[in-house]
Subunit: 507 residues, 2 copies
Amino acid sequence: MSKNKRTAIEPTRMENYAEWYQQVIKAADLAETSEVRGCMVIKPWGYAIWENIQRVLDGMFRETGHRNAYFPVFIPKSYFEKEAEHVEGFAKECAVVTHSKLEDDGKGGLKAAGELTEPYIIRPTSETIIGASFARWVNSYRDLPLLINQWANIVRWEMRTRLFLRTTEFLWQEGHTVHESYEEAMEETQRMLTVYARFAEDYLAIPVIKGEKTEGEKFPGAVNTYCIEAMMQDKKALQSGTSHFLGQNFAKASNIRFQNRNGEVEYAWTTSWGVSTRLIGALIMAHSDDNGLVLPPRIAPAHVALIPIYKNEEERDQILAFTHRIQDLLKNTMFDDIKVYCELDDRDLTSSERNWYWIKKGIPLRVEIGPRDVEQNSVMIARRDLEPRDKQSVQFDALPGYVLKALADLQSNIYTKALEFRNGNMIKIDDQSEFYRYFTPQNKNQPEIHGGFARSHWCGDVSCEERIKDDLKVTVRCIPFDAVEEKGSCICCGKTSVRRVIFAKSY
Amino acid sequence: MSKNKRTAIEPTRMENYAEWYQQVIKAADLAETSEVRGCMVIKPWGYAIWENIQRVLDGMFRETGHRNAYFPVFIPKSYFEKEAEHVEGFAKECAVVTHSKLEDDGKGGLKAAGELTEPYIIRPTSETIIGASFARWVNSYRDLPLLINQWANIVRWEMRTRLFLRTTEFLWQEGHTVHESYEEAMEETQRMLTVYARFAEDYLAIPVIKGEKTEGEKFPGAVNTYCIEAMMQDKKALQSGTSHFLGQNFAKASNIRFQNRNGEVEYAWTTSWGVSTRLIGALIMAHSDDNGLVLPPRIAPAHVALIPIYKNEEERDQILAFTHRIQDLLKNTMFDDIKVYCELDDRDLTSSERNWYWIKKGIPLRVEIGPRDVEQNSVMIARRDLEPRDKQSVQFDALPGYVLKALADLQSNIYTKALEFRNGNMIKIDDQSEFYRYFTPQNKNQPEIHGGFARSHWCGDVSCEERIKDDLKVTVRCIPFDAVEEKGSCICCGKTSVRRVIFAKSY
């Protein structure tokens, strides 16, 4: 941090939240925009976070009986047209492949040639192309349940893009399953939502609200869409994962039929569910501060930055030797099922520069090793979620235990902080004018700052939902699972309502 | 295997090699063709092999200092045009995105709309799009070497496709590195070829020949292309991995410049290298037999099939209990750094059906557990590379040791077999008519069957290379690194040559 700056990231969250977000990504070197419209480049530190997300989720999918496979990136236009709501939902934002080569345009350049008889869409989601395989794979109830997951790149031609949160191309996983009954498919849909919630809370340290999407917000072609919603530090909601009960809609579109236990042929019941690199956006916005990224240790690419500090060659040898001993000591330390990973930063920079480098990157712990530390057989440790200058002296032998406890404390501390922030910014509102005030920014310079989440009654009518959206850019984020039945009046039209829903502005 | 069949796979390798290959894939349930032109669906058993390939290679790339990142799937046409040889090499077979949405065609269907101002190519390789990022990332020699790898899907519009070997879409990894000097870039190019060779031999159990491609066979835009070449069971060569020294060609095209140690700005030196899902094709064709897939244990998705055999409920309980004890016993057994993975097959099928199911899938070991085995506290074990009926009785306590030795023996046995096959089908030929006879099929019904690899002299002239290709469909696979300098006459024109090269038919 240069001396004339108050914080490592400028502007701060309060000054300009959207710009702060971009600057955190830049300072932590997570990603950059590319010259390709709306597509991002995920840089090594950002991609390592994605790999950790993949590793943990993949294990959870395996435990719940799913297996990975890979399906074509191209979806023939005719497949896409099979499910009416589905195509309606994605047709306006898809990349269309129309040609199979480039040839001389006669002006020294190249032009598209070899026109295809049928255009292909780059997958915006794979229900229809995977459905074509499933129709071949499923014949009898004995083939069910069929539990498949795919890790893949996805393209949706977004107009307004933002790194990680909304990009034309993004990475995700999409689960696709086939079942013999309504009940089993519904159970799977719920199970996977629970997996996502557990992952968000236990690994990303982000508290989430589980619930169901309204008719207007559900996945195109789904019967029901369930979601986990998280609150970001600007009090907006971020949909962090969805699980869809597809009923027999896609089975009918793709002709997935099977002989049931009574010997009759019927359409199967399917589900799909996914999370994406958007989770990295959630991670950044849930925990980071005005000094940069804050990473939950259970998903961080590295846990400890080792920063040796010396003034001359003699000190150098001694201190590096001690630093290597620390590296060896921590090498076999396990934080839950994760190996503690150290980054040794011996670059020719001041200790302050190196400290700030790692603060901005969100490494959980920083360990400084100076001449006095070697003498005392100790080190100075700083934790990313505490003040940058707050350091503890720790004896060499106590290091592994201290590191494990510090990582666990950091993990639970940022979860608690996020939970308290969300709960402190979520209130029940029953009065319409209070509702409008709650969502109206008080400061014209900060048009994004508003109350938070409102738990209010809604009659279930799409016209009320749309009116509130038009007036306030606020939508029903979900009908939460934990909503109790209670009588009330719709916050918009005053008609009877039986439960509260979550209203919020969202990404 | 049904009783009237001689082998589980029909036709056999000798009867129709190409069809045998397809049938092995089908019998092992590795992949299937999709309705999308030339694109395959990689099914769970096939994808699990790919995941193992990824895991091992990824570890090797990390050990050699590389980090993963992700770059856009789209390449703007203008990027593609920057390197003349490069675009020449890929323009004839690329998917071109020209539109960004679908809209009503007025006939009840949809048509491409929202034409792009500049078409995008789906990456057939990523030198140019990654180069654009590298140009931003590299400023000084301090930023070098820059060692990046990407795991991604690739599209090349192939005319004749074949599962795994040549598909329109395939999965691969592509390493891209930037260096400050010719020497360092060349060293990197060679280092990664060595990594590939080590992986092919130590994990896939496929012996390879390391060498350099001729001018006509090198990567479009490269200065030198190095490769590993393997012999399949039809004696054709399969290029199994390539490493390219790109000189300053792509640095100039993408403007990757840096300030060197003398303060001068110069173009950097780059490399790229890749292997793909083609390796699964190599694996199948190198080891499989007329009963199906044979998998090297170090890359197999599972190692042991447990096949309990019982006639009634009472036997069932006893035998399943014993089977679970075996599962527990083997659970913590490590084969090198790989956990031994068991598949318990308790399906309602005969033991013969289950045995043949796993034989066709290539599982290394099959363990049968019957009533007599439980009595004797032992099991019957069969190894995939031996005769299907060749079984050994092994005592319960001796199981872990036996399994480890059997896996190691299988791994080395199939490597030795492949090595002996290749060496037995590779000869020095100095006489032109012998050369032509060697590559001419003796049996018209088996047009693919021929001699194998020929180590012959070649003058280095592209016209000789082309003549042999036209006459025999034989090409120079590589100029092997281990070729000794010796005087000879070109097998085609008789002019002076200084070393032998490898001639072969190839995939």
